[in-house]
Each structure stands twice: as structure tokens, then as C-alpha cells.
Amino acid sequence: AATLAAYALMLGDDALVMSHRVSEWTSNAPDLEDDIALSNIALDLLGQARLLLARAAKADASVVPVLPEGSPAPPEDALAYFREAHDFRNVRLAELDNGDFAEATVRVLLFSVWRLATWERLRASSDHVLAAVAVKGVKELAYHRDYAARWFVTLAQGTQESRARLLVAYDALWPLWPELFDTHEVEAAAAEQGFGVDPGGVREAAEAVLDQVLAAADVPRSEAARRVGVLGRTGRDGMHGEPLSRMLAEMQSVARAHPRGQW
């Protein structure tokens, strides 16, 4: 149960943090259609996060932070609003500060290609909740991927400026791609126990998809090297970058100011 909870938290934190970053685009996108599309992506991921955090709490109540007596916050909110940065288990790709629209395009593309490759297998999870989340999520992620892939190609083939920006964003994010496929011991155990997916096993499938997009965009595979962690630890180990604690300071400010609040 501890492994299931830890595994569900990883998947949930990925979605929660990525959703937050994407939601920052609301009212800031290049056009109304994109504002709507990005809000949609943020909403889908938020929905995934809620189900996964709830699953984690149900699997092992000890992962849920203890709130002041009388707090009516449900477990999903206790987990989202009352953990510190080092308790979060998301991959570092999700947490970076937002850049320009090219950055958003590449980030959503990498994130959803990876997540989709994993979740296609997660549909066969022995945990019925995870399996159900994955069945629904796969459809959502396919939409996210297609949206980002379309923009990836458009920007790459649009103007000189858009291509230049896209390439900068691609090279800037590529160093975080290998981390997505590292197998954390929790993930290994989850795969072993039949309810999780070893991300190491889906790299080939994910890269095959990505290569199609790169080919359509006429963009060569980046040669940027992997970004190392701190003492070998990365996002899955709770070792994050500076942007996450800043993001959480904002995200958690109202909830923490009113730990007994009803919302």
C-alpha cells in the first residue's frame, strides 16, 4: 500500500505541477483559441491530479499531512496545499518557470508524449482506480500531444523567428527528457507488483512518436546533454529546482492562511 501511495503521488504530482504551469497561460496566450486549449490541458491534468492524490491518500493515509484540528480539507487538498517542495515527487520538467509560447509547446509535447506512452500501459494496471484514470487520461493526453505537435510543426515551419524560438526551447528542455525515463525504485516496485509502469520500458515507444513530430517539423534530434541532479537525486526523489518552492509559495498561500477554512 505504501508503494501504491508513493506511485500514485508521483503521477499525481506530475499532473498537479504541470497543470499549474499551464494554467498560468490563462489570459496570456497568443490567441483566444490557444487560451482555451491551454486552459483545457490544465483542467484535464488537474482532474488527473485530483484522482491520483485521492488514490494515494486512500492507499496509505500516512502520506497525508496532518492538518490543524477542525480542518475540513479533503486529502487531495491536504496533499496539494500542505506539503513542502521536497515532499513533491514530480519530474523536474513539470516545474520549470514558464517561458514563451515555444517553450510551452515543447514542454507540453515532451510531457504528453512521455505520459501517454506510460499511460497506455497503465490502462492494464491491476489497480482498478489507476486503470480507470489511465483509460480516461489516455484520451486527454492524446489531445494534448496533438495540440502541441501541431504547434511544434507550425512554429518550426512558420517564420524564421518562430523556428529560432522553437529550437531554443527544444534545446533548453531536451536535457530534462532522459529524467522522464529513469526508473525510480518506487516505479520498479510498482511495475513488479503489477499496478505500475516502469518508465524505462517506454522510452523507445515515446521517442518513436517524438521522432515523427521532429520529422514533420524538419527538426533534428537535439544533442543537448542530460541535466544532472543533486547528488544523483532528481524530481522523483524530491530534489527539485528553485522554481518549485516559489510556485508553491503562491499556490498554497490562501489555503495555508486559512487551514480551517471551508472552500
Partner: protein
């Protein structure tokens, strides 16, 4: 029969007859230039209001205090973008593009609703905006579902349906908060104190000071006067405030059995006029935000255009 074969006065009487029958004018129909201009101005202002209106609430998406509320708020702000989209499309049937209208907004040549020049200062404002601001908007907009211009009326039907959903969500947030801590109740009251008067201003100046109302009503663009709608809103809000347990900040607010309506005080119309002139608390901030987003997106829109052209010619 083509347009060129029809005499101007015949066209005009056809238009007048349609209006008189409370039928809809459609994009293909002839219409007086004044009617068209008034409509473009009104629809554009309405569309701009949706887009600018994303900011005050959008400012709290990243701080929503529960994941459920975050999802509700995100979806609501997204709906506002959607409303902007329908409304710009309705305006486009009158021959003006979304880009043109956006540039008129950014140049300060078209307006948006002054209510969005008030700041959001606590999470209770998300609820209050839903309850009072969306509530006032609905009072204004429901009659517009029967407006004489077809595309506008049909857009308003969709908008109104979603707005009343938003209004219920906002009110529900407030009812939840007042069941919470003392601080939360104080937060709700403070928020209502701040938004009550600006909400009343949303119906526009008193009828006596509203010179365009008569023509708009004659054309069937507008169906009620400002003061009629304001009265309706006050009558509707008083019992809702009671149910919520908040006080509306108007000492003159009292039931008038004779009129069958509430009497109420006047908002500070001078503050209203300052907001209209661009001197409200957030005008500069809202416009700067919109301008930055528009400028930051320019290279993306150019890339999309270039890519589409290349695809078309390929």
C-alpha cells in the same frame, strides 16, 4: 431579387417591418448604417469585457485554496474566453475582424465594462463576482437573447446559459465560505461591501443621463432601460443577501410596498465616470496586461499565418 434591384426606401421599410414583427435581422439583410455601427460597438464592447474580465478572476487561479475550486475557476475563466470568441464571431458577421476590434480596444478606442477595473483582493471576490457581477450581467443580457440582430441574439443565448451557471457557482462559494471561519465570513462581507456599488453601476448611468437608450430600444437592440434592469437586480439580490447572511452596504435600501420594489441609494457616479475615462483603480493594469499578451503573441500568430500560407500553396 438582388440588392441592387431594390430601392433604398424599400430596403428600409423591410428592415423596419422585421423589427416591428420582433423578427431577427440576419447578416444577409440590409440594415441602416447607424444600426450596424451601434451593434458593432455594443458587441465589441461586450466581447472585450469578456476578455478583460478574465483578468480579475484569473489572478486567483494560481492561488485557489482547494483543487475543486481551482478547477471551477479555471473552467469559468475559460468560458469567458469562449464567450469572447462567440461575440467576436457575431461581430465578424457585421464585417469587422477580431484583430481589428482588438486593436481598437488596445488603442483605447473601444471600451469594456468598467466593473473589471476594480481589483480582486481576496478569494471571496471570486464568489462575489460570480454572484453580483455575473448576476448583473445576466440581468443585462437575458433581454439581449431577444435582440433584433440574429447572430448576437444566438450568441447571447449560449452566453446567458453559461453565465447563470457561473452565478450559481459564485453564490455557492460564498455560501460555503460563510459556513467556515470568522475570518472567512469577514472576507465575504468585505468583498460584498466592495462590489455592491460597482455592480449597480454595471447597468449604466440613470436613464435621464443615458442618451442612446431610446434609439437602441427603437431598433430592438436593447429591450429595457438601465433603471429598469437595475431595479430588477436589486430586487433579486436582496433575498439572496439575506439567505447568505451578509449586509448590502446601502443604508437607503428598503422595501417599498407601494411600488412593490426596493428603494435604494445611488452609486458614486463620479467614480464611475473616472473609471470610464480610464482613471479607475485597474484600467492601466488591465490594458497593460492585454497589450503585453497581444504583443507577446504576435510572433506566434505570424508563424501560424505563414505556415497556413505555405500549406495552402503547397
Amino acid at each position: 431579387m438582388t440588392l441592387t434591384e431594390t430601392a433604398p426606401d424599400e430596403l428600409e421599410s423591410h428592415f423596419e417591418a422585421t423589427i416591428a414583427r420582433h423578427d431577427r435581422i440576419e447578416p444577409r439583410d440590409w440594415m441602416p448604417e447607424g444600426y450596424r455601427r451601434t451593434l458593432v460597438r455594443q458587441i465589441a464592447q461586450h466581447a472585450h469585457s469578456e476578455i478583460i474580465g478574465m483578468q480579475p478572476e484569473g489572478s486567483w487561479i494560481t492561488r485557489a485554496p482547494s483543487l475543486r475550486r481551482k478547477a471551477i475557476l479555471l473552467a469559468k475563466v475559460q468560458d469567458e474566453a469562449g464567450h469572447g470568441l462567440y461575440l467576436y464571431s457575431a461581430a465578424e458577421t457585421l464585417g469587422v475582424s477580431r484583430l481589428e476590434l482588438t486593436e481598437l480596444l488596445l488603442a483605447g478606442k473601444q471600451k469594456y465594462s468598467s466593473i473589471f477595473n476594480y481589483p480582486t483582493l481576496s478569494y471571496a471576490d471570486v464568489g462575489t463576482i460570480g454572484w453580483l457581477v455575473d448576476g448583473a450581467a445576466i440581468c443585462n443580457q437575458v433581454p439581449l437573447c431577444r435582440t433584433s440582430y440574429g447572430p448576437y441574439g444566438r450568441a447571447m443565448i449560449r452566453v446567458c446559459k453559461e453565465e447563470s451557471f457561473h452565478q450559481r457557482q459564485g453564490y455557492e462559494l460564498l455560501t460555503t465560505m460563510v459556513r467556515g471561519t470568522d475570518e472567512q465570513r469577514a472576507m465575504v462581507q468585505e468583498s460584498v461591501d466592495r462590489f455592491w456599488w460597482p455592480a449597480l453601476m454595471m447597468f449604466g448611468p440613470p436613464d435621464a443621463d443615458s442618451p442612446n437608450t431610446a434609439q437602441s430600444m427603437a431598433w430592438g437592440i436593447k429591450r429595457n432601460t438601465n433603471d429598469e434592469l437595475r431595479q430588477k437586480f436589486v430586487d433579486m439580490s436582496v433575498p439572496q443577501a439575506e439567505a447568505l447572511g451578509v449586509t448590502l452596504p446601502d443604508p437607503e435600501l428598503v422595501w417599498n410596498a407601494e411600488r412593490g420594489h426596493h428603494d435604494f441609494g445611488q452609486p458614486d457616479w463620479e467614480e464611475f465616470m473616472q473609471g470610464v475615462k480610464g482613471n479607475g483603480p485597474c484600467n492601466a493594469q488591465r490594458m497593460a496586461h492585454r497589450r503585453r499578451a497581444h504583443e507577446d503573441g504576435a510572433w506566434v500568430r505570424e508563424a501560424a499565418t505563414a505556415y497556413a500560407a505555405r500549406q495552402a500553396s503547397a
